[in-house]
Amino acid sequence: MTTRRAFLADLTWAAATGGAAVQLGLVSMLAGCERRIEPFARLSPAEARTMRAFAAQILPSEPGLPGAEDAGAVFFVDRAFGDPFFADTVPIVRAGLAELDARARGAGARDGFASLGDAEQQKIMRLVENEPYFAAARTLVLIGTFGDPSHGGNRGGVGMRIMRMDHRPSYTAPYGWYDAHI
């Protein structure tokens, strides 16, 4: 079940779960590089920009609450585009990203959806939120935010922080407030 896990992603997971110091150093270095130069294998630059903006609208960041961009959801989407499991989803999402850009250009944005301001992006999101591609792309963003970091997203355990999970491989009781206090 682990065959699809890439070396870099495993190291990122080690960082998320408190791996060895030497790994952390390497991961920091690689992660730093990633932010600047990590190429997308399957998303075109335009698709990546649009998907990033879309993801940031699905789960925006605000102080104290990280979002899909912080989780690197788009990096999961890039991998999903090459995953046979998502083969049926990819053309739907790809066409959806193109439509978001087309609608943005219709609204006067020459560089597509990502170049619009928040209010304009949200206006388009409301217009298309019942389209099948919207649900498909949203699901990819959510897997990229909350899924296992080995798949390229949920970087630094951001998804667990959004959900306020104390993420560990095992736990001991008490688990919650009610079994601790009643």
Binding site: T139, D148, D179
Partner: protein, 550 residues
């Protein structure tokens, strides 16, 4: 740890070939090999070890990598036989691999009650159904429930209304979760009774296995601690350790072979390289689950058995039951953190019995749980009136995930002859074998039971003090993991497939023991009864074999 196993050559005649290594097959393999018989278990999946299991929600819950759908996506569904078949979402689900679905089950181990075996006599007939008494009683099965408790490993404590038990639980209950505390609170307020949920999970080191690590990944996941009492870590290792049991993995049985005298001679299967091979045996035992067992029988046609093996009644594949479910979700002021711990720790059984005053047949138990990993919760776990994207959505995920629980009703399903699992020649698997076609319409009482129970869980959620209560819609069945009733047990060969000892009425050395043997559905947690039946069947099969009556 995988123990080195005995292997049997092609020409070695063995006493039993068992198809399936899951809840029933594991018990049968262990019991029969311990009794001194040579046994080969045929398992179509691999032999994974606990250390190989993962918490990866994408792989396990969305790709369903451990389940049949990852290997055989071609299933079809229809509401009635007059409709065209259509591809189905999840459909019939079970695990392929040593231990079968006992590897990924939630480990709820409720016993049936005495009434479950004689409801037809207690309540009378139900028009348009095959509602019938079992040919055995709770009293006959009780010693084998006790064997499951002790040999498989169940933790728990007695509760109000429990059926009689001859031995106490071998292990104390698992620690209570917040959802269990809240269910107790609601029950007390409403004059109901919450009791410990019996779980096939080690609450302490047991029989060489680790105690539960409360990782929160039971349902759909394998247990990396070996604490969940699956056949993988309980029965199969003991069977292999006898030196009389081979577990042949990646072996897909496609036909039960018979001779001119109408006796089973063994099975034909594809090995992992796709080669067609045979395994002869003095007797054949099918324990492949309620869907696979039915398909295997239906595909094992011959001039002598033109409608499938053991199918003179025409009831192979009929009367499939999945158990009904209904639920209410609730959010609470403080964190529950239901992503930790086992699936459920408390259950309310006050509505177990069917009560004619309700106006419909049906009963069940209600437990408190939270069936969401973070991906699933983010996709569709919030109430419908909360936005599905944006700042309010993100804040709601933050505020709901750790504060939410579900009260879930586990219910009866009536046996209906037109609810069937059949084979669909238009949709074939990778071997070219016809896939499953499920035809299913909920009997009206089953839908009424779901709606009635949802009202009960709503009342209980409010009594528990939830700050927000919401009811996901009650849904009709279109598949499931409980695969029951498709080779039903009975005394009359005209209306049943196996007798009270699980021997096929039509084939004297063919035994069938898994969920397919069920006559009625019970209340949503069938595995404890499947394993009790398997212990009982093994004892009788041993007796028959020693008397040369197999």
């Amino acid at each position: 740890m995988r123990i080195s196993e005995r292997t049997y050559g092609e020409r070695d005649e063995v006493d039993f070939v068992i198809v399936g290594s899951g809840a029933a097959g594991g018990v049968l393999a262990k019991e029969l090999s311990t009794a001194g018989f040579d046994v080969v278990v045929m398992e179509q999946g691999p032999w994974e070890q606990p250390a190989q299991f993962t918490h990866d929600e994408l792989v396990v819950e969305r790709e369903l990598a451990m389940l049949n759908r990852a290997f055989e996506p071609h299933q079809t569904f229809r509401r009635s036989a007059s409709e065209p078949t259509a591809p189905v979402g999840r459909g019939i689900l079970y695990r392929r691999g040593v231990g079968g679905s006992s590897v990924h089950f939630a480990a709820n181990y409720w016993r049936f009650r005495p009434s479950d075996f004689k409801e037809r006599s207690l309540l009378g007939p139900i028009s348009g159904t095959g509602f019938a008494d079992w040919p055995i009683t709770y009293e006959e099965l009780e010693p084998y429930y006790a064997k499951v408790d002790w040999e498989v490993g169940v933790s728990g404590a007695p509760g109000v209304g429990d059926p009689p038990r001859s031995r106490p639980y071998p292990m104390p209950p698992l620690p209570n979760k917040s959802s269990g505390v809240l269910l107790e609170h609601a029950a007390t307020k409403l004059g109901l009774h919450a009791q410990v949920a019996p779980m096939a999970i080690a609450s302490r080191v047991y029989d060489g296995r680790s105690a539960c690590g409360a990782c929160g990944h039971c349902a759909y996941y394998g247990c990396e601690f070996g604490a969940k009492s699956s056949s993988l870590v309980t029965m199969i290792p003991k069977a292999v350790a006898t030196g009389r049991c081979e577990v042949r993995t990646d072996a897909t049985v496609f036909r039960v072979e018979t001779n001119a005298r109408g006796r089973a001679t063994g099975v034909a299967y594809w090995d992992k390289d796709g080669r067609e091979r045979r395994r002869s045996a003095r007797a054949v035992i099918l324990a492949a689950n309620g869907a696979e067992t039915a398909r295997l029988l239906l595909l094992s046609t011959s001039p002598q058995f033109p409608h499938g093996l053991a199918n003179s009644s025409g009831n192979v594949g009929r009367y499939i039951m999945f158990n009904g479910f209904a639920f209410t979700n609730g959010r609470f002021e403080h964190p529950l953190n239901e992503y930790k711990g086992p699936v459920a720790t408390r259950v309310v059984m006050d509505f177990y019995e069917s009560d004619p005053r309700r106006g419909f047949y049906g009963g069940g138990g209600i437990d408190a749980r939270f069936p969401y990993g973070p991906i699933a919760f983010a996709v569709n776990g919030l109430p419908e009136d909360i936005p599905t994207w944006g700042v309010d959505y993100a804040r709601s995920l933050r505020d709901y995930y750790t504060h939410t629980m579900r009260l879930m009703s586990h219910l009866t399903s009536l046996p209906v002859a037109t609810n069937t699992v059949t084979v669909d020649p238009d949709h074939r698997d990778r071997w070219g074998r016809p896939g499953f076609c499920l035809t299913y319409t909920d009997y009206p009482d089953d839908m009424q039971a779901k709606r009635w129970f949802q009202q009960r869980t709503q009342d209980m959620m409010e009594a528990a003090g939830a700050t927000r209560v919401w009811n996901p819609p009650v849904q009709p069945v279109d598949g499931g993991v409980h695969l029951l009733g498709t080779a039903r047990m009975g005394n009359d060969p005209r209306t049943s497939v196996v007798d009270r000892y699980h021997r096929a009425h039509d084939v004297p050395n063919l035994f069938i023991c898994d969920g397919s043997s069920f006559v009625t559905s019970g209340r949503g947690q069938p595995t404890m009864t499947i394993q009790a039946l398997a212990f009982r069947a093994a004892e009788h099969i041993t007796r028959f074999a020693r008397l040369h009556e197999v």
